[in-house]
């Protein structure tokens, strides 16, 4: 029976090739998007799953205000380094604790050299204490866990880095020289181990773990602190609740006992609603809960929604087509029923047919994924693979689940409709019953078009917004501007300045791509105003090419500029009031009152994503009232031969820092990066909309083919009665047009809400435009009419005699 049903199914597929292709192809596309998303989710879920023992590893998080974007207290991944020892000594459940460098964004790569070889840049080399591999049990290919970091000045390499540095040679016992910044003299580290690359991504990822000795000690002065990440391995069967209670108690005791040494009132820890907190977070939960970041799941939610929609659209196509075609199968159902087939057997048969199509679609999807993965990976900066996936078995299980779900969703309704045919009437050729499900089919077509029209509206609005952002005046000149990851070293700056074609060399803590904001409260006319402070060198504003609105920018001609002058941006000037030039304000710094004079106002310029507004900011050259610095050395070129000039700068750099590589970025790249997330999102939506619209059209095409076929007799009759071809095309179009227009009416408000929400995420945005809505309606109507007309024309041109004779 099964074999026969399978045969029938295959014969049916071959007989209706077009339908089968549309059905299977559509489903394959929907499945591809969905499976890609599954792969991505699996990738994110696979963080820190490379070893079963990691269930006993916890990340310690401390609540403090150091290095937070808003200067308020938050539970953070970086802890004061003393917490490490505290846990090691006072928490009984803990077996091992390690302190390791966090992933700072502003850190430069390390330069690593072996012997006399040219240095290479290596990122994510981290300094740790001796216990790192007691907590994270990596498999050692060379060396051993117990000896690896037992002595200072040692380093354990990941397999991939060892290969890069030493090729196939044994790395164990070799010495590498590591420089952490350009002025660093370098540290010689002995390779004491090589560990296997982990199969899945890691939160505490690294290319090498160094033990330079810096992480072994805490600062001697109790008022100084050093921040690092802390991970702990605990006993089997440790209760998280209990562990956290112990941590809290130990931490509070510690804070209480150390407060006097820090010259802090213990009570001040609790002022203004502040409180003390130290928590252990299971490693498995760390990746999904990064502080100051929207978790990947939140970010992915719109994509998940879209993928589910796409899959739904393709399933809807499937249901629609199968139900529509069911008339052709009615006779078979009738005959089988009078031969003694149970209803369940018939349902089983049709589900089998559906399963056959979905399995073919699934295979097609897998092929499509293989083809698409490389470009998907580059687009989303991930390394996904299907066949080499470490969780292939789980993946296949998910696919099987998906297959079952799709089969049931797509197959059950048609199977139910079919198996319910009344044999007495279908065998007489009365298919009146087949009109059942017409309403449902219409609803499904409307639903598909709602999705498509919404997509069309969304992409046109997104396109307008992107155009607006791309052409938006940034407030500074980003061309011919490069940013070298380096501090301001006067001797190097002088050398670079002498290179012909270099206009300005300067430093600032605020430039697109690397911004370090320092909040400060000023007092003006008795009012307290909170401003953002940026420390720059004399030429920085000129190098950036910002527009001066009033007064002047800094210049060497004014001695005062190195003493107590500031320049404000427009946003800050607005807070100060009218005519700020020449006015003074005060700040209180370490009990002293300091006076600053405002000498200029510049136009706001952008240094972060367009989701954020420009902060009211003051710019100063003077060291009065404290300074800050980050690795920004910006160089403005006034020549088009930037590549040649950059080469010259590199040569100068090499002469000054032979062992440390120069890293730089152009401001154009930095700008692209700011737009990157947005552009990526838009290109994805674009792709999805194309897919969704084509799926809907395929569905409409197949459905109209079917309707035209079913109404052959009616059309022939009408022609005999004198209807023109145009009238017949119009007749068939009318039915579908009504559906498309209904879909448009529904999608307008839906799109308005969804797109409005997306737009509101931008601090700088266009007003909701009207014409994308009109455009979507017109486009959807035109393509629907074209699609239906292809079929309608065929039906209209057919010879009526044939149609009427045929029975």
């Amino acid at each position: 029976m099964f074999k026969l049903n399978l045969k029938i199914a295959l014969r049916n597929l071959f007989r209706n090739k077009v339908y089968a292709a549309i059905n299977i192809g559509g489903l394959a596309i929907g499945l591809t998007a969905f499976v890609l998303m599954l792969l991505y989710i699996n990738h994110e879920e696979s963080y820190d799953t490379w070893d079963a023992g990691l269930k006993n590893v916890y990340q310690i998080r401390e609540r403090h205000s150091f290095f937070t974007p808003d200067n308020k207290e938050h539970l953070q991944e970086s802890n004061e380094s003393r917490v490490g020892n505290l846990i090691r000594q006072k928490v009984p459940q803990v077996i091992a604790v390690t302190k390791v460098d966090p992933d700072w964004d502003f850190r430069t790569d390390n330069s690593v050299s072996v012997g006399k070889a040219e240095p290479i840049a290596v990122n994510r080399m981290k300094d740790a204490d001796s216990s790192f591999f007691h907590v994270f049990k990596y498999r050692f290919i060379q060396g051993s866990e117990s000896k690896a970091l037992s002595a200072p000045k040692s380093v354990v390499l990941k397999q991939s880095l060892a290969k890069r540095l030493f090729g196939e040679d044994i790395a164990l016992g070799k010495v590498i020289k590591v420089l952490a910044w350009q002025g660093d003299e370098g540290t010689d580290l002995t390779v004491t181990g090589v560990v296997e690359d982990s199969a899945t991504p890691e939160t505490a990822g690294f290319t090498a773990i160094m033990r330079t000795g810096n992480r072994d000690r805490d600062p001697d002065n109790p008022t100084n602190s050093n921040y690092c990440q802390i991970y702990a391995r605990v006993n089997n069967d440790t209760d998280l609740e209990l562990l956290n209670q112990t941590l809290k108690k130990v931490y509070i005791d510690y804070k209480k006992s150390t407060a006097p040494f820090k010259k802090i009132e213990y009570r001040s820890y609790f002022a203004d609603g502040k409180y003390l907190e130290l928590k252990a977070l299971p490693l498995a939960k760390v990746h999904g809960n990064r502080p100051f970041e929207i978790s990947w799941l939140e970010k992915l939610k719109p994509v998940i929604a879209i993928c589910i929609f796409l899959l739904l659209v393709s399933i809807i196509n499937f249901v629609n087509l199968v139900t529509a075609q069911s008339v052709q199968r009615a006779k078979e159902v009738g005959v089988k029923k009078v031969m003694g087939a149970y209803k369940q057997q018939l349902i089983g048969q049709f589900l089998l047919e559906c399963a056959l199509q979905s399995i073919v679609a699934l295979f097609l999807a897998v092929i499509l994924i293989e083809v698409l993965l490389p470009s998907f990976n580059t687009q989303f900066h991930v390394e996904l693979s299907f066949w080499y996936n470490p969780h292939l078995a789980g993946m296949l299980l998910q696919l099987f689940g998906l297959f079952t779900l799709v089969t049931l969703l797509a197959g059950f309704y048609p199977a139910w409709i079919l198996s319910n045919y009344n044999p007495a009437s279908v065998l007489k050729g009365n298919y009146g019953d087949s009109l059942r499900g017409v309403t449902l089919r219409n609803v499904l077509v409307v639903f598909q078009f709602i999705i498509s029209v919404t997509f069309i509206i969304a992409i046109s609005v997104m396109h307008l917004q992107t155009n607006y952002l791309n052409n938006k005046d940034l407030g500074f000149e980003r061309s011919n501007l490069i940013n070298i990851r380096s501090g301001y070293d006067q001797s190097l700056v002088d050398k670079i300045k002498r290179i012909p074609g270099v206009q300005y060399v300067a430093t600032t803590t605020q430039v697109m791509g690397n911004t370090f904001n320092v909040p400060q409260e000023i007092e003006y006319n008795g009012n307290k105003i909170s401003l953002n402070t940026v420390t720059i060198s004399m030429d920085a504003l000129s190098a950036l090419g910002v527009k001066l609105l009033k007064g002047r920018v800094f210049s060497k001609e004014y001695k005062q500029d190195t003493i107590n002058t500031v320049v404000l941006n427009e946003a800050a000037a607005k807070l100060i009031g009218k005519n700020p030039i020449g006015k003074s304000y005060k700040i209180i710094n370490q009990d002293k009152m300091l006076n600053f004079q405002i000498v200029g106002v510049i136009k706001d310029y952008h240094n972060e994503g367009f989701d954020k507004g420009v902060l009211p900011t003051l710019y100063k050259v003077t060291h009065l009232g404290g300074t800050s610095s980050t690795n920004n050395l910006i160089v403005k070129l006034n020549s088009d031969k930037s590549a040649a000039i950059i080469e010259k700068i590199k040569t100068e750099w090499k002469r000054t820092y032979p062992d440390f590589l120069m890293e730089y970025t152009t401001l154009n790249t930095a700008f692209d990066k700011v737009l990157e997330n947005n552009n990526r999102f838009i290109s994805m939506i674009m792709l999805f909309s194309v897919v969704s619209v084509s799926l809907s059209l395929l569905g409409l095409f197949a459905l109209s083919t079917f309707v035209a076929k079913r109404r052959t007799k009616e059309i022939a009759m009408r022609k005999i009665l004198g209807a023109s071809n145009m009238q017949i095309v119009g007749l068939l179009n009318k039915t579908f047009l009504v559906l498309v227009i209904i879909a448009n009416l529904i999608s307008w408000p839906v799109a308005y809400l969804v797109v409005g929400k997306w737009l509101s995420g931008f601090a700088y945005r266009i007003d909701m435009p009207l014409y994308p809505f009109l455009l979507a309606t017109i486009v959807s109507i035109i393509i629907a009419v074209l699609t239906v007309s292809i079929q309608a024309r065929k039906a209209a041109l057919g010879n009526p005699v044939k149609a009427l004779k045929y029975e």
Partner: protein, 226 residues
Amino acid sequence: MIQLNNIEKYYANKGVKNYVLRLVTTTIKQGEFVSIMGPSGAGKSTLLNIIGMLEEPTYGTYEFMGEDVTSLNERKRIELYRNHIGFVFQAYHLIDEMTVYENIEAPLLYKKVGSSERASRIADLLDRFNIVAKKDLFPNQLSGGQQQLVGIARALAAQPSIILADEPTGNLQSAQAEEIMELFKKLNQEDGITIIQVTHSEKNAQYGNRILHIADGVVKEDVTVA
């Protein structure tokens, strides 16, 4: 074998009953070959459908092989289809996606007949109807008469005790029609299969041994063919 008592079938339309069958009472015994005749719209097919349990009467009782089947549950009805009733249709109603062989095999699969038994029965039927050479063809590759032969072979495959045929020769040329009617006669006389057919043709009706004349839903005449 079949006992119909006061069978009525009507459709209520705005309170008016439109009768298709009125007070039909008759008995059909095992081994009879009954032809139901009458003008279009007389209720012939409805009567056959009720006998075949494809439709339920609005009123009256129906006993099939001594069992009241007036309103039977689906499972029991399907059991009867599998074991006792074979249908033959005017439009043959072969399944287009199946070959001749598979079409004949289908009822045996539902009846769960073992594969060797199945093969021998089908071989037997193919042989008997002279269609061995056609066994791997699809219905649309056959002539109408051949298709109807396959249709009858399929109806016989499950070895039913009764065959219900709704104008089995209606779509056929007269030569082919004669062939089919001869076959029915042979099945009735040699295998003792009860046959009930609906027909328009007086000539075809003569092949049987009893004719029920129906007009406007009422049995007007019940004659035995000499």
